[in-house]
Symmetry: C3
Subunit: 182 residues, 3 copies
């Protein structure tokens, strides 16, 4: 009888260990695909809010989100024609991102920014600082960088900045409780 | 030997309790960021479908989604210039939401609505009623309300309507099986 | 004492079984709502990447995503006026999808496609083939098909192609670790 118990107990232990491995961590993973002011802002409101609640936060910037993480003060040479075009046409850092709607030739974006200031909503550069302090991890999609001709040297300085592919992101997402595509 | 079993059994019990606490409930949480007819419609198709399957459903309306929950018959005064501008330019309730593509100066939206009627797809106001009956909970983002100058008195009447911040939503999302950003 | 153990062990077994049932499978479910080149591309990069990592992958094409799965070589008759209009105005298959930004009357889309070729990023038709080989399951939303007047005979040939409603998708999403709305 005792031997039987021991066997059942061991089987149960293995099952619990497997379940524990499958259980998602207290983590949120976001794909920031958009480069619009409103959506990038939403992603940082969620990121800093989640970090404040004690969640581990991962942001994966890809496609239109990628150019918003460029440092406008950094200049890099050696780009081909396509790289130069993308470099010029896409927003260079948070200062140039625009609203997805009601942009009205930039007036809507200016209004929204002044409104955020008035209502004490942190600006994107301020949110980035808070995110850095709170340990939010930022990943940048290497395929997007390569497609748009961006170089690592022109991206912002940020602690825990990782350049990686979709597989690395999916690994983080798999062990997350919440995943969002923004 | 028996004492050993008892100890192992208790350890296992604690582990199972912790896993049970981490396991997500039968719940879906959606962030409705968009104010486009097509996306708001999709969010309600998912919400009512999920509720019909017995899931607990939470919708968090933020940014462009917020003005679509205004009641067009309600008038509020005391707004500043910015509040008046947002109030006028953004869709006042479901009756004014437009398609994100193929709007064609409103013609596409009219066509889509007549098509929905013909094909027996419920309209947004009808879906809202179904959602209310099924106990779908709707949250409205206070930061968006504040930014756009909306007042609580001008929002729709809806059972279980909650005004809250991102933290409250993240709490719901953490215990949900499915989370979507729409 | 032994009888007590047996009871506790059985209770624990039932709890573990319930937790095992609630634990999400190694699966990712995506709603492809968008019909833009950039977003459809992102969905296939994630789908094939996830499949390569051994995840079970489900894609649910709805609304603007639906027409992109049409086969441009297939012609079907018997459509009403609305069906003909949607058929003409929406992209007929991957060859006609456009960038959501910087399309510049088609020039941006052509540039992006030539860039993808140069940088060895697989094109959408190539990604679809890889997805098919890897067993990615594709679902098409019947309500969208019905609304836009599409017929099953005009959709692409794909193994495991399923026509279904939102309930079927939610079932898959419920047992998935990752869910995205794209």
């Amino acid at each position: 009888m005792e031997a039987n118990f021991e066997k059942e107990l061991n089987e149960l232990k293995n099952k619990v260990a497997a379940l524990g491995k499958a259980a998602p961590e207290n983590k949120i993973s976001m794909i920031v695909f958009s480069g619009d002011l409103d959506k990038v802002l939403a992603s940082f409101v969620i990121a800093t809010g989640a970090a404040a609640m004690g969640l581990d936060v991962v942001m994966f910037f890809t496609f239109w989100g990628t150019p918003t993480l460029r440092d406008k003060k950094k200049k890099v040479g050696g780009k081909d024609l396509m790289g130069k075009m993308f470099g010029t046409m896409l927003p260079k850092g948070f200062g140039q991102v625009k609203l997805s709607k009601m942009n009205m030739a930039g007036m809507g974006t200016v209004m929204m920014k002044s409104l955020m200031k008035k209502k004490n909503v942190a600006s994107l550069p301020e949110m980035l600082n808070v995110a850095a302090e709170m340990g939010v991890r930022i990943f940048i999609c290497e395929m997007s960088m390569d497609l748009m001709g961006f170089k690592r040297e022109e991206m912002i300085a940020y602690p825990n900045l990782t350049f990686c592919g979709v597989a690395k992101f999916l690994e983080e997402a798999q062990s997350s409780k919440i995943q969002l595509f923004i």
